[in-house]
Structures are given as C-alpha cells and as structure tokens.
Symmetry: C2
Subunit: 213 residues, 2 copies
C-alpha cells in the first residue's frame, strides 16, 4: 500500500497490465472488471460513432446520439471505479492493523473493519450495476446500429456481462465477513437479479449479431 | 489509417479506451478482445504470485511456478495481438482501393483482398486460441492457488472466455467475404470446439470459486 495511489488511467496500458499480474494489492479483480466494462462501454460508443452522421442510418440517429451520450457516461464512471477499487480495500487493511489489546480496542477495531468492508463491497457492487447498463445499451446498439459494427456491440455485451460477473464475485468475497445480515441479504438479492439480466442480454445480443453476420 | 501506428501498450490507458470508443478504425473489437484476454492472463499470474513463496502453499509451488511462466507468456502474446489487430485490416482496405478498370486489375484486386482477408481473420483466430489457453490456466489457478485469490482466477476465466467469444466474432465477420471454402470450414470447426471448451472452463472455474467463497 503506497501513500500516493497510482492513477492508472494516465499511466501506460502496460503498467496497468503489469501491476494487475503482479502480487501487488492493486489493481485486483474488481478494478480489472471495471476496466473490462469500460472497454465494453467504449465499443458501444464506437458502434454509435460508426452510425451517426451516415445518410442511410438517419432514422436511428437520434436514438444512437442518446445511446452514445449514455455509454460515454458509463465509460467515465467505470474509469473512475477502476481507480476507486484500487484503494477501496485500503481502509479494511488499516482496520486489521488497529490494536486489539483491550475490549474497547477490539470493539472499535471491529466497527472500523465492518464499516470499511461495506465501503469495499459497495465499489464492486456499483461496478456491477454500471456494467449491466453497458449490456442494456449494447442491446440497443446491436438492434439499431450500423450492421457492419454489430460484432462490436456484441463484444460490448460480452465484456459488460463479464464485468458484472467479475465485480459480483468481488462483492460476494466481502459479504463473507460482513455481519450486517440485512445488508448482506439485500446485496445478494440485487446481484442475483442483476446477473440474470446481464446473462440474458448477452445471449440476446449474440443472437441478434449472428443474424446480421 | 495513419502511417505511424499508435503503439497502444506504451500509451496511457485512457488513450486506448478513448480510441476504442471513437469512430477510428482501430482499436476495434478484435484488439479489445485481446486486451480483455491480457487482463485475464494477468489475473491468473496474480493468483500464482499471491501463492508462490508462502509456506502453507509449498505443495503447489512448483505447479504454479509453471502456470505463471505460461500465463505471462500468454499475456505477452495477447499484448502483441492487441497491437497486431489494429493494423490487420489495413491490407484489406488497401486492396479495396486498388484499381478495377480492366479484367486483369479486377483479378489482381480480388486476389489481394482475399489474401488480406485471411491474414485479417488469422489475427482474431490466434487471439481466440490464446484466450482459450488463459481459461485452461485459470482452471489450474482456481484449483491450486491461494483460495484468498480464487475470485481473481475466476475473473481470469471470465475474461478469457469473453476474449475468445469476441475474437471469434471478428473471425466470423471476415469469413463471410472469404471465398476459400476449405479455409472457412476449417476456421468454423476450430472456433466451435474452442468456444465450447472456453464456455465449459468458465463454468467449471465459477463452480470451484463458489465452493471457496
């Protein structure tokens, strides 16, 4: 854990890949899931950008202008979350290092850890939510976008679903140590519905894509 | 199409994401699939790096030392393919711009295009093959690696499978315009087997992961 967090967005792509492969605490699977989601959101934007302004797609221009505004917002959010996830667990690690000699210290340490674990779980939960939105937009892009770019819409859905699955696992690993049962139950229920929708959207987008290949 | 290709590995992560989202010809879905696969390979390496050198995992140290050597080689290859895919289609575009005024010119143009299309299809085919290998190594990492990092092995498999699926779509889109039926048939058969194995591995790794969460 360094004092100055590396701002990965501004570093060479190879630095992000190298650090993910290393034994360093960050970036881990949560951040990498956000990165995959950002790549997927980018491909949805690409489909829109390869459609807008072309005479023969004038009928869908308004719809895809709306989609690209939203996919670019999702991409910006995932780029933030890619970074946030690299530090989300720091507060948990700080908590584990707190003294636990007296009962008071033990209570304070446990409260710190429990609060930090929820914050750490909320980051991948948000990644999963945004990644699902990527899948939803990929569905529209596959339907309405330039058919020459339909595979890019499909890869957008594939990476959106993968990002949601990966982020969900990072929520679940944190839930195992969170004692607030209402919070744990709500997270599990939300993830279940969210992943089912993402899986369904990926399958729909793949089916649309195969009819246009 | 620029004369000097951007070497994305050395550019800030945001440049790769921004260019993928733009209407520029590259990077497209093939390159982005290779990038997702490289991220997956990196996570497999991370699991190994979080296992090797720890007393309690001494029994799997030799196996995971072998895995990390292989996952780092796959990552290096996918980082190359991420770049190669950005230029693989250039030769096809050059072909389409060749003159077609005489029958001789038409024949030469068609031969150029057909050869370039196979080269362009071979790049994502290679991405899919390497991505499948990422899934295979993720399976071993999930089985043998530090259970605290099992979700990273799972995300490695998720991104490996996604990379294989995305790359396969980019092969298929090229196959539609390739006239060599033997080549097309061989590619389709290889992709079918490859994707079935990747899907199976992702499901296995997810199942292993859920038992360890």
């Amino acid at each position: 854990m360094s004092d100055e967090a590396t701002i990965y967005r501004d570093k060479p792509l190879r630095v992000y890949l190298d650090d993910a492969a290393s034994g360093k605490p960050a970036p881990g699977g949560g951040s990498v899931s956000a990165c995959a989601g950002a790549l997927g959101a980018g491909l949805v934007s690409m489909v829109c950008n390869l459609t807008i302004g072309k005479e023969k797609f004038a009928g869908v221009e308004e719809a895809l202008t709306d989609v690209v505004a939203r996919s670019e917002a999702l991409r910006a959010r995932l780029e933030e979350l890619l970074q946030e996830d690299t530090t989300a667990y720091n507060a948990v690690l700080v908590g584990y290092r707190l003294p636990k000699d007296s009962p008071e210290q033990q209570t304070a340490r446990s409260a710190h850890i429990q609060a930090a674990l929820k914050v750490a779980a909320n980051v991948p939960l948000e990644i999963a939510r945004v990644a699902l939105d990527v899948c939803r937009l990929a569905r529209t892009a596959a339907d309405l976008g330039n058919p020459a770019a339909v595979t890019d819409a499909a890869i957008g859905a594939i990476l959106g679903e993968g990002a949601a699955q990966g982020a969900a696992l990072n929520v679940l690993i944190n839930l195992g140590t969170i004692k607030d049962e209402a919070y744990v139950g709500a997270c599990r229920a939300e993830l279940e519905g969210l992943l089912a929708e993402a899986v369904g959207l990926r399958a729909e987008v793949m089916a649309i894509t195969h009819t246009k290949l």
